[in-house]
Symmetry: D2
Subunit: 141 residues, 4 copies
């Protein structure tokens, strides 16, 4: 499964270089991840109420071009690996073409490794039903 | 009691107008408030572990001048009112003079009303000992 | 004119009280304001390239209820006053009802006064054509 | 050269998992980088006014433990490589021990590759004097 999410770059997300601040891309990846999980038929909000927490253990972002204020950025999210206590997502971020502005150009690629943790923050196995759901959505290519 | 805190404006906090984004000032007020409570001999982190939560119910900010990247902003915090279930803080934000840059100019004034809420988010009376501590620190002028 | 915008609360926007952090509401108001200006047939991004900058000079937020992670918040934006060098917007923020979660409850009301400033940050009159456009959209009630 | 910076975790930086949100670590790295450049005898703010811009082209963060509200996090910054148009920084983030709280535990390690870009965003060679300054501060181990 690959899901697509869109965010419009907020003024708050720009910096004085006139482009979106680099840390914001991780927030957009989180938007993509939330939508991916929703597309599985659950919500991360509900999962969390059931005690599942996915803590980011590793994040990598490669910036290809700048996203600018009011650009619409499309985040394609895929799940590339599921292990007993961790999952890895990959993200492809592109500008959505708009009249006179943008062009579908890739702005970034990213990946995040998330670890399943207990409320106390210790690594724990993913609940079996949730792991099965995730495994059915892996797309490694 | 009046406490003073300092923050150095982060690149992340600027926007493409080349100045600190207006919502960041509320974050700096929170830094001032945290330091004010610490100066009372408790920490808000500890208070929260004991079940006291102060939720912002009203916030007002008047912007006088721009704070810029790398400026040091000094936040003077005072507590102007304590009621059974709420407290009001006022903040005076000024640039700290630096060689060749700034000048002690006022960048903003702000006030926030905070309501004491239970873990479920309902208004509750402030614990008596904490209220007494706060009342001793009120400075209304 | 009244415009409506929607934001879904991001995990990044929550704090350890389990609700959206209070300063984020000002960012959502900015989303509403950007959409309002777009509905006038211009974009703030384009206006800024033409030298018009609207700097927030005063902001007030009254928090009525908590917005939570994954809630959809609807921002209704109206322009209540236009003067030669400033404009005032008002915002009404409500949760969008969702299965099993929310209810249309008002989460906040806010207003912001914005001043027209030059690139150097000094107050300047709004360009006549832009002022006329704004005046046509005022809705004071 | 290795520089040390400290940040105190703000309430704004926490999320509903009760820990600092993962994207904030990149902001703290930026604080470390700003201080590193200041320790060279220049400021990034001044460099930028002279036309030097360092855009983040790649960022990697490995999260070892959670930073929590009110923790003081110490960021050790070193410059590990300088090339004609890019520089690479590494960061070691640890909790500063405090009475009854923390312990010097490592919370994260990170690295960022920054590319020298023109005002228009195109890669350009670092100015010679600035490159020499940076090269004198490299510490590859």
């Amino acid at each position: 499964m690959i899901t697509a999410s869109e965010v419009r770059v907020r003024y708050a997300e720009t910096d004085q270089m006139g482009v979106a601040y680099h840390a914001e891309y991780l927030v957009w990846c989180e938007v993509g991840r939330t939508d991916f999980i929703r597309a599985l038929g659950v919500t991360y909000a509900e999962m969390e109420r059931q005690g599942v927490r996915l803590a980011v253990a590793d994040a990598q972002v490669r910036y290809h071009a700048s996203a600018r204020y009011d650009d619409v950025v499309r985040i394609e999210t895929r799940l590339v690996e599921v292990r007993s206590r961790s999952v890895t997502f990959r993200y492809d971020l592109r500008r959505v073409p708009a009249p006179g502005i943008a062009d579908g150009e890739r702005v970034a690629t990213a990946s995040t490794l998330l670890v399943s943790v207990s409320e106390a923050g210790r690594p724990v196995a993913l609940p079996a039903h949730f792991r099965a759901l995730l495994e059915g959505a892996v797309r490694a290519d």
